[in-house]
């Protein structure tokens, strides 16, 4: 019983430490607010946040340094359920959740809810199918389980490949996010930002492995949740008078819906203005399209007509400003046909802005029933992939190895989802509140009197916000605003009228979200290589010190490689993140679940199922996703490669069922697994089995 008593004391100690920590952090923010009022420059506030938080994470890393295998790989298996829940929350919520989520909801309305449901509902699958059983199995990695259950190195090796494939693309996106946020917080360049962030990630996971990462992630969760809540609550008070945005934004949504109807209806005065602006965009796009079609001949005719305008103006003795204007358009004309094509393509792209705004609360908006049906199908398919992918990503599943018992693992899934829920439950409210602000306060205001946040953000980054008076009436129309999703979270403090310190806090929260996820992912990759590939397959006689040493060295290599790829700014990074979910879902989920729930599942069947699921998912993406098509040189028309109109992001809907089908069929035609394997399955099914002498737990 001494183990239980010391665990209790440990938990009490942790509670004390993190309560003090939270208090200290709040005090720190208050102190900075006072300093800001006393005139501390904004840039300094950014630096203080960056340096203070990164030093804090590094400090936790130094304090938790270890070279003990069990501490390094699974934090000594003594992380209490609540704290593992917070750590999983931070591990789980990446920059995409923290900064991107509310923006996606703002831009996509109902369709964006696929991410909200997909990224939370997956924990139901983790709880029911995986966490307690993996904890009973109790080793270090997911390939460990595959190797033991499916008898050998082949299954382990396939597991290692899939784990690396899905974790690496994901970690690249996190490091990219770290670079962006650091650059924004301090004004340093993106590349410097990447490497500052990298230092923060490495100090922590390098010194203390899972142990350091766990305690840092708890600290990061606390920062990110405080940073997310303060601005939303403030904004809610501003618009509804009640500080519970999640419960009261229904009334705001109704006002937004009414305003949308007004703006879409061309018979209202505001709606007519909107239609006017949209028509300008439509005309601009169609004239660009006509010119594109006329290439290469249209390049010369266009140039000639501009030249003629200049000559005519001069010949007619027009006012000097008219001549100057005509000359300016001629000078601005593209230098050759290729440049013209690029410029016109850009013009043609404004076609998207000629569309009426979407209705936020409308499910599956589309022009006809057939298109609506496709939208619905893709909505449900995306939810499916995100959910199953959640229950198959190794860096999340690994976290359930770190609790002291099966019982705690079950509770820990509850706490994980609870802590994730706090943010996800709030994001839809934030999106609607910001939309209300933009639709009612910004739209219809005068260009001469734009709110301060609009001016400052459109200066910082035009891709986040740009407003141009297209129809020159001096009034802001909705169609004149081009907005990037990320601004919703980043600008909320200013929209709500909070001091700059809170903007710094939000950026620090985004940084915490990106760093914590990157830590977890890097550890997964390094462990798959050092533990599964090196120790289990290449050199089983390696000493503990060598194994941990190899893992640390690999961590460094993988981190630098990921930072290098991130600094290339690879296109479509968001697609790659979502692709990781489909790949993980198709690769791992069927083999893991059947391995626990169906004793008859055989090793060769699992290997074939994992390969088939991953390959089919990958193949579908490679033939239908624009960026992947260009990488693999696929030239056949996209429409021919589409199956049932499913978007490439949801390719997992084909891989997962195929994986299940192949595993089941091949299992039935191959000899049943050996007695020991069947006993292993029984072993993981019962938290404690009388007479069971098997002990799979690694220490």
């Amino acid at each position: 019983m001494s183990g239980a008593t010391s665990q209790k004391a440990f938990t009490a100690q942790l509670k004390k430490i993190y309560t003090w920590y939270t208090g200290g952090f709040v005090f720190f923010v208050i102190a900075l607010t006072i300093l800001e009022m006393m005139g501390m420059p904004r840039q300094w506030i950014g630096y203080v946040f960056l340096i203070a938080t990164v030093l804090l994470y590094a400090g936790i890393g130094v304090m938790s340094r270890t070279s003990d295998a069990s501490e390094y790989y699974v934090a000594g298996r003594r992380v209490p359920a609540v704290f593992n829940g917070m750590a999983t929350g931070a591990d789980w919520m990446s920059a995409a959740s923290f900064i991107g989520m509310a923006g996606t909801l703002y831009l996509q309305g109902y369709s964006g809810l696929a991410f909200i449901m997909g990224w939370t509902g997956g924990y139901v699958l983790v709880a029911l199918f995986l966490a307690p059983y993996l904890r009973k199995f109790g080793q270090f990695t997911i390939p460990d389980f595959l190797g033991a259950r499916y008898g050998g190195n082949l299954a382990r090796f396939v597991g290692v490949l899939i784990a690396i494939l899905c974790s690496f693309v994901y970690v690249v996106a996190q490091i990219y996010g770290v670079g962006l946020i650091t650059a924004r917080l301090t004004g340093l360049s993106f590349e410097v930002g990447v490497f500052v962030g990298l230092a923060g990630i490495l100090v922590c996971s390098f010194l203390g492995g899972m142990k350091a990462v766990t305690w840092t992630q708890v600290a990061q969760y606390i920062i990110l949740i405080i940073a997310y809540m303060i601005p939303v609550v403030w904004l809610s008070v501003k618009h509804t008078g009640i500080p519970l945005p999640q419960l009261v934004y229904g009334s705001v949504l109704q006002k937004v819906t009414a305003r949308e109807a007004e703006l879409i209806d061309a018979k209202t005065p505001a709606g007519a203005k909107e239609a006017e602006v949209r028509k300008i965009f439509a005309d601009r796009a169609s004239s660009a399209e006509a010119k594109l079609k006329g290439l290469p001949g249209s390049y010369d005719t266009e140039k000639a007509s501009l030249q003629k305008a200049v000559d005519d103006a001069k010949a007619a003795n027009a006012a000097p400003e008219v001549v100057a204007a005509a000359q300016k358009s001629l000078d601005g004309y593209p230098k050759d046909a290729k440049a013209a094509e690029a410029a016109w393509k850009k013009d043609a792209a404004v076609k998207a802005r000629a569309n009426a705004p979407l209705r936020h609360a409308e499910a599956f908006p589309a022009k006809d029933d057939k298109a609506r049906d496709i939208a619905r199908k893709n909505f449900l398919a995306l939810i499916f992939c995100l959910m199953v992918g959640t229950a198959a990503l190794p860096h999340i599943l690994m976290r359930y190895y770190t609790t002291p018992s099966v019982k705690e693992a079950r509770s820990s899934v509850f706490w994980s989802l609870f802590f994730i829920f706090l943010l996800y439950f709030t994001a839809p409210a934030l999106a609607v509140l910001v939309k209300f602000d933009v639709y009612t306060l910004l739209v219809g205001s005068e260009f001469a009197k734009l709110p301060a946040w609009v001016a400052s953000w459109s200066k910082v980054d035009p891709s986040l916000l740009s407003i141009v008076d297209v129809n020159k009436d001096g009034i802001v129309q909705l169609a004149e605003i081009a907005i990037g999703g990320d601004i919703v979270v980043l600008a909320t403090p200013e929209i709500a009228g909070l001091p700059y310190v809170i903007s710094g806090l939000v950026a620090a929260g985004g940084l915490a979200a990106a760093l914590s996820t990157a830590d977890g992912l890097l550890l997964t990759i390094a462990n798959a290589l050092s533990h599964d590939l090196y120790y289990k397959m290449i050199n089983p006689n390696a000493s503990t010190a060598t194994r941990v040493g190899v893992s640390k060295a690999l961590l460094l290599v993988v981190a630098l490689l990921a930072a290098y790829v991130a600094s290339l700014k690879v296109a479509d990074i968001l697609f790659l993140v979502s692709a990781a979910f489909s790949l993980a879902a198709a690769g791992f989920f069927p083999a893991l679940v059947l391995g626990i729930f169906w004793k008859r599942t055989t090793g060769i069947a699992a290997v074939l199922g994992m390969i088939a699921g991953t390959v089919v998912t990958f193949y579908y993406m490679a033939t239908t996703q624009p960026w992947m098509r260009s990488v693999f040189g696929v030239t056949s028309p996209v429409a021919d490669n589409m199956w049932w109109d499913i978007a490439p992001i949801s390719a997992g809907v084909f891989g997962v069922p195929l994986g299940f089908a192949i595993i089941i069929i091949v299992s039935l035609i191959t000899p049943a697994p050996k007695r020991e394997v069947q006993e292993l399955v029984e072993h993981v099914r019962y938290p404690n089995l009388r007479g069971d002498t098997m002990n799979t737990t690694s220490n």
Binding site: Y110, M117, A127, L128, G250, R410, N688, D692
Partner: protein, 88 residues
């Protein structure tokens, strides 16, 4: 190692609970989502019901499912004598 009937009963009760909770998960996610424009488009405290379910309701249900599963299974372990630490 020989499984007793009691062990098999424990496992089948676990499977039954898993199936029921999974069915609830399926309905709040996919059935409500599928019928979002039809049966579930009615007004619910200001939100269209399907929108509210997607943004808040289903999340609450997921949290409750996992909470209930943990509680039920931890009790079941005790009842069937398979809880950890009982024989060690």
């Amino acid at each position: 190692m020989q499984l007793t009937d009691k062990h098999r009963e424990y496992w089948s009760r676990n499977l039954r609970l898993t199936a029921v909770l999974l069915a609830i998960w399926f309905v709040v996610t996919f059935v409500v989502g599928y019928l979002a424009r039809d049966a579930f488009s009615f007004n619910f405290l200001g939100w269209p019901f399907a929108f509210w379910m997607g943004a808040q309701g289903s999340l609450v249900v997921y949290v409750v499912i996992i909470w209930y599963y943990a509680r039920y299974m931890n009790k079941l372990d005790q009842e069937y004598g398979v809880a950890e630490g009982e024989e060690e």
